[in-house]
Symmetry: C3
Subunit: 352 residues, 3 copies
């Protein structure tokens, strides 16, 4: 698996550079960029894992919490720089519904085909449910609704206020999980110990170097990628919205998607759910507000105001995910239900 990714980088990255210089057809470039980023993302993930093991669970948790969605953050950063606010908001939406519905749905479905009933930690699920409701139903819905009766300049002020609160609460959640309530809600200690005693794949220095190089490469390719969206959209008949919600989100999350599904197949449902929901929360409580704050330094500041279809897609995805995961138990049919919701939204965004 990793050899394939290594090959993809070894071939894809030079082609990315060459193709940009030689002005190859945009659709071809788009495909090369996407595959290269997916491969680089998997290396970033492995490097982060290794560093996390070296630095211990606290710093490691912090690292995962900041670098876990680095690829999306980087792509969104360059899209923001290019003034493509629509694409950025769409890709955030896509990450939320992609993680909650596509990743969780595939995990439940594929895991459920092998095992009749799978279980995961109910305490974590409920903790996460509260945060999902907070982030999506409160922090995303309020600016949407309030901005409709607000002077435009106040909308950005409100977005900044909400973004700061989101990031502070995200940090508080880490403090809660890694410091004050570490292990308090653990049900299966042995399994967790096993995870913690895992050996690092790479030495600390090597891992840091790989993380650095891969991040730089992702940044380079992402900057090129965002400039292909317009032409690719025209070529395939896709709107900016569809590219953001479906395409960018899948490219940005591909590596995580794969590991969640593998974990589900190994009956480690706790980890699969943690990847899906944890990644959603990271997007909603860290990446999205950070982009709002960063956009202050760009030409067009970005408010936390999604389109109504985006918001409704996220809100219904959250409610479905909460009701489905509420009992800490899954089966193939729950997976099918969640996947069906993703397909409905996908068709909707395609036709919009």
């Amino acid at each position: 698996m990793y050899k394939v990714f290594f090959l993809m980088i070894a071939i894809g990255f030079p082609l990315s550079v060459l193709g940009s210089l030689l002005h190859w057809p945009v659709v071809l470039l788009f495909i090369i960029y996407c595959l290269t980023i997916v491969a680089l993302a998997s290396f970033m993930g492995r490097a982060t894992e290794s560093i996390a093991i070296h630095t211990g669970p606290r710093v490691g948790g912090l690292l995962n919490a900041t670098f876990g969605n680095a690829v999306e953050l980087i792509i969104a950063f360059f899209a923001l720089k290019a003034g493509l606010i629509t694409v950025v908001l769409a890709s955030l939406t896509g990450s939320v519904i992609g993680n909650l519905l596509l990743v969780m749905g595939l995990s439940f479905f594929i895991g459920g085909i092998k095992y009749k009933r799978q279980t995961f930690n109910v305490f974590d699920a409920r903790h996460n449910s509260g945060l999902l409701v907070f982030a999506v139903l409160v922090a995303f819905v309020i600016p949407e609704i309030f901005s409709q009766e607000m002077e435009p300049k106040n909308t950005y002020t409100l977005s900044v206020g909400i973004s700061i609160i989101l990031i502070l609460l995200y940090l508080a959640a880490l403090y809660f999980k890694l410091v004050t309530h570490r292990g308090v809600y653990q049900t299966s200690d042995t399994e967790n110990e096993a995870v913690e005693q895992e050996e690092a794949e790479w030495g600390k220095k090597k891992a840091i170097l790989i993380l650095l190089l891969a991040t730089l490469a992702v940044a380079y390719v992402s900057e090129s990628l965002v400039h292909t969206f317009e032409e690719v959209g025209e070529a395939f008949g896709w709107t900016e919205l569809f590219i953001g919600v479906i395409v960018v989100a899948i490219v940005g999350n591909a590596a995580e998607h794969a590991s969640a599904i593998i974990m589900a197949y190994k009956n480690k449902m706790d980890i699969a759910v943690e990847i899906a929901v944890g990644s959603t929360l990271q997007i909603a409580m860290f990446v999205a507000p950070l982009l709002v704050l960063i956009s202050f330094f760009f030409e067009k500041p970005m408010s936390l105001v999604f389109t109504v279809p985006e918001l409704i897609a996220m809100v219904t995805a959250v409610l479905l995910a909460i009701v489905i995961s509420n009992d800490g138990e899954t089966n193939w049919f729950e997976g099918a239900t969640v996947l069906a919701a993703y397909f409905i939204m996908g068709i909707g965004f395609f036709l919009l």
Copy 2:
């Protein structure tokens, strides 16, 4: 009880035919039609039960899942044929809120007056909660919201896509319940065995014949019924919406309503809840999408786009039903709460 229904048919059906030919006053005809349909529906229900017992639980489950709301489907079919799309959507809404709030409310209330605390299977309740959120909060809300920013022709395409997904997931739910996870979540085996060993009231052939005849008779009367709506509305000061949401829904579901309440009174809460919620899901995941697909062959295709009041009524009904039934326990006050919600919606639709 059944003798009364038999008499109602023996008198009502000839009167229906005669009255249509002799052009009796429309309001009188409307009442005759409604009572005749209610009586016929009870015979269809009994016939389906008998056939289900003969064919065993799998085919029987499938039969119940398709014929359980045959009356609504037939009435809606003729309303659709007559171009009364407003009435069709309204009657679907009415079936959803009627089953979830009126039937469940009456069951909880009347059962709760006799018994201090009643319980039902929590696993089924949670399984159903997921489907309710999927069907109503995702599959009904998405086309409503997305269609507002969509070209009209795409709205029907989206509705067709969603309808196919809904029917596929409905079939998957049956496969899950009747095949892969049959009995997995059962708590009270004995009671269920007892149900399965029940003796059929009628022989297989007799039951099929009765089902066939009753269905044909319902179809005949329904076709006449839908043409009375306009004049009846004028006579009573009812809008098409009110007729659809309250009147048609109660007529179409009367037989089920009665059996759910009887079950609650006998402290068989599992069955009462299964009738109420199962019927709601059948309407939302089978009848409604089937009508969307059928409407393709009629003059006016019907999109899955409800009015905003209809949608909000269904969404809030689902959320209330989920929160109330989440703990697998009921009492008279929970019934009163759910009924109060139905009355509020009833007043709302009356004044609209």
Copy 3:
């Protein structure tokens, strides 16, 4: 503590009278009025407690249920009389989100700093969840949505209908709790017995007299208070909405806020949650509908139609509170989450 409140009344009340007569600066008067009302409210609370102990739990429960939010009712009454419908609806909104988010959030947070995990009665929480969904998601949302497609005169009719249903269900809830299901869902009997055997602070007659005098004084000061809103708003740059949602709501609920937090700090989480949620339900199911009915006799009748931001704030507050309190367990982080939601809404209303 009580000495401070006594002093505040002994100084504040004469100053209130004097200041009104001498036309002191409005902002100064506003502050005096607010502090006096907070102090008087604490005496009303103590008097109600004492009477409740004398009259036994049933009449006492009824008393608490009607006098618990007397201060808000009185302020709202005079605001309604002055035609300030916007302020009344805003203060109702503020009481709902204030009790659910600010009070509950502070209780969870402050209690959670002292205790790692705190628990409260799950049965009560679920009972209350059902009522919150009923009151806010059904009874408040339906008139909002339906009124948009309704003739204006029907909107008030609908509001009256809903108000009567709300009050009836509120009375039914008391009957359920105090009569038919008294003690049925109790988990920790001893603690509750202890509460009931508590000795009254004041004799019955003295308590009634104090309650009467304090109520009259609150009424007097409230009537003056509502006339300061306009000028205070101008002075501080606050909208009527912000005054209603944040300022009036905090003044009207200050006494309860304090006792909920003290209870949380004493690890009596059951009582803290009961104050927060019970008070919310009292506002939504008793104070709000009562004001709608009372407004019939004033110049401008008040419909139960909130602004969209108010409604969304209440709906999301309810959903967050339900998901957070669903497991009957709290910690400091859940408190922080709920408080963060309150701050987001506060910023939103400030900027509106």
